[in-house]
């Protein structure tokens, strides 16, 4: 008992997994009892069985699949666009103080502007087509990502760069052969976190300005008070997020077997 409350005392990984699973089971069971015992009306809180059945039926009929694909497509486009521009800008800002002066303050400012507030403007500019969602995801992730990538670049130790200089590397060679490889694991972590954000902004975009996608399916369900469909939508988005996250963690481990501190 004393050990449990000694700070940072390690526990076996099996025990860790058990505790984590226990919380999930506990939550689902609580949910099940609250809804099936009629403590909360079925209309407000459908039972987990009903939600799972709904998801299964939707997956079989393909209705939800098409919503999923269009949402994933939007994330990919918006996020890739943001990453392709933010990564080089971030690296430059993290490498050269004069570049940082040009890039960072603007990004700091824009990232505090709430993205949902841009939605009306984006709709005026580009209607409710695909471009609108991609722009919203871009706005939500790009500025933040530039700053975080710049931090990743700055985190590469001075001595590591200095030793490359004393081995004959200068300027762009040092960036290409030392700075970028050294920051890659952290950068991939940043990318992983930003994809999580992208899911949030996707739903923002689809709730307000869409006629397809997972976010839209939630909105549509609200109109017909189909709470099980709302639950299903939220759960599926959560699961997709979790799956992308885990896949990226696995990719990172495979790509960077040399990374320290694991």
């Amino acid at each position: 008992m004393k050990k449990l409350f000694s700070i940072r005392h390690p526990i076996p990984s099996k025990a860790y997994a058990c505790l984590a699973v226990f919380v999930f089971v506990f939550l689902v069971l609580t949910w099940y009892f609250v809804s099936s015992m009629g403590i909360v009306k079925e209309l407000f809180m459908p039972s987990p069985v009903k939600v799972v059945r709904y998801i299964a039926a939707e997956l079989v009929s393909g209705g939800m699949l098409s919503d999923m694909w269009i949402s994933i497509y939007r994330i990919m486009m918006g996020f890739l666009l943001a990453a392709v521009l933010a990564i080089p800008l971030g690296i430059l800002a993290g490498s050269f103080p004069w570049m940082e002066a040009l890039i960072a303050p603007v990004c700091e400012f824009v990232r505090y502007m709430p993205v949902p507030a841009f939605v009306p403007l984006v709709m005026i500019w580009s209607g409710i087509g695909e471009a609108a969602k991609i722009i919203i995801i871009f706005l939500g992730t790009f500025f933040q990502m530039v700053l975080m990538i710049a931090d990743d670049a700055r985190s590469v130790s001075d001595d590591l760069l200095a030793s490359s200089y004393t081995l004959g590397a200068r300027g762009s060679v040092a960036i290409r052969t030392v700075l970028i490889p050294a920051m890659l694991p952290r950068m991939m972590d940043t990318v992983r976190m930003m994809i999580g954000w992208a899911w949030t902004y996707l739903v923002v975009a689809e709730l307000i300005a869409a006629d397809s996608g997972l976010g839209y399916s939630i909105l549509k369900a609200q109109r017909y008070v189909k709470t099980e469909a709302i639950f299903a939508g939220i759960l599926v988005i959560g699961l997709l997020g979790l799956i992308t996250d885990r896949i990226l963690v696995l990719i990172n481990k495979k790509l960077f077997p040399w990374a320290e501190g694991e």
Binding site: L160, A162, S163, Y165, L167, G168, V178, A182, F256
Partner: protein
Amino acid sequence: MFFKRREKNNGCSTAGRPISAQLANVKIWGHQIEKVYSSKKGEYHALEGLDFEVLDNDFVCIVGPSGCGKSTLLRMIAGLDFPTGGVLMIDNREITGPGADRGMVFQTYTLFPWMTVAENIGYGLRLKRMKKEESEKIIQKYLKAIGLEKFRDAYPKELSGGMKQRVAIARALANSPEVLLMDEPFGALDPQTKSQMQLLLREIWQVEKPTVIFVTHDIDEAVFLANKICIMSANPGKIIKEQPVHLPYERILELKDTPEFFELRKKVNACIKG
């Protein structure tokens, strides 16, 4: 060449070069070096009026109390830092930046973690676009010299601290630098590993004969390794004494228990304590 450079360095008096510096075999020459850090609180003179000279192929240790600027001096020779006054030259050319002619080993572990041991050692050679077969020979030679042939494909995270520093030395030497700069490279190692590393370094130096400038605060280490010890004082940082080390050319660990060794250590200690 020298005079042209001196004009460029306007505002710095060079007030006559010592005669020895005119000899062909002076590798590094510093005169009245000054490093001033200015902040809102005022100026801090890290180095002031520092004269410094290292002969070609020599092994020089710089010792001094912490904060005396010995690492700053070393970084200046590497071209990673610059004096605010005075002249600092290599082969009669002013040092304007870092280069492959001056390899450096740091106290912190600076191996590239995404490269294997062999790739780390070959990094400088790849930058030079050396042919594969040629660089492979050099890598093999230094892997053997540091006794890590079995670890050629290991990543740095699999190595102990002493092994990492051995690879760092090999990486610097593989580039065949004219000058090897070492900034307390064994400072983080346990005493046992430290002695072995000193032995290895001296051995390598006797074969390869690069000019070595080795910064340390460990006086035993300095006496054991060096042909000449430069002793620095702090506030302001300058070299107060040059102590030649007349010990046998072949350094063995038993040397550390001889009266000659004690005598030298005492001399250097006395000088540091003022």
